[in-house]
Symmetry: C2
Subunit: 122 residues, 2 copies
DNA sequence: CATCTATTTAGCTAAAAAGCTAAATTTAAA
DNA sequence: TTTAAATTTAGCTTTTTAGCTAAATAGATG
């Protein structure tokens, strides 16, 4: 369950052009960063993947992309899984589900004319 | 239809503690900022309302709150309607509906194992 | 028309964010 | 065991953001 601080972190993470584009592309699979579950877990080398592979698509230095990814992981919008010396990046679907639910409830309750706690933790 | 830049603005607007709290409270009606449609449009004085009334709930100077509200209006997450010399503030439900839809599609499509354009304008 | 109320604009400062390069760390591979 | 590859950390600079006060603007009211 996401509290107010969590939500602010999520929006902050998505409210930057570079991170938004990274996020969008992780979701679309554009950079082939996801772990393919049809492959055995220890055979990940076959996949394109990871921090370096994302950074190649941007005109920013690798440490800059690394820092953005860390912020996105801290905001729980992506997961980063270490396997050998590479890090595999995937969207955090659970968080997205919660955020989706949050906006849905916001709209639904508003349309019902009821008061709604956008953040219900405080 | 929200393009990528619009979405980034929305997330930036929500990714700040002060603005998030303002937004949350505009939605809950906590500061009585909404125009009550049961009242005639020209009888708004009866309602609590507006920039000053929001600012009272924060330890920040009035111009600071004014600037935050402007940013939220530019991001299209609220509307500001001038009536006499007061400004009435309401959530922009249309934008919220679009953002809700965006996250829903993101999750639904991911679960169906399909690729998804989180931002479909580029 | 003078004054009050609501809000914004201007101009400033301090803090946070986003970028960089260089160096360190971890693991793989030769 | 040395080297190479993938990533992070440290330390720095520049830009942006968030706050302030003072002044300006717009409209309402006495």
């Amino acid at each position: 369950m996401l509290n107010m601080e969590d939500k602010i972190k999520i929006f902050k993470a998505l409210g930057n052009e570079t991170r938004f584009k990274i996020f969008k592309n992780i979701f679309t699979g554009g950079y082939a960063c996801s772990i393919d579950n049809s492959q055995p877990k220890d055979d990940l080398i076959a996949q394109a993947t990871c921090v370096t592979s994302i950074a190649e698509h941007f005109d920013f230095a690798l440490p800059t992309i690394s820092r953005h990814l860390k912020e996105m992981r801290d905001a729980k919008i992506i997961t980063m899984t270490k396997n050998k010396n590479k890090i595999y990046i995937e969207p955090n679907i659970q968080t997205m589900r919660e955020i989706a639910g949050c906006f849905e409830t916001l709209v639904d309750d508003y349309e019902k004319g009821r008061l709604y706690q956008f953040d219900n933790t405080k």
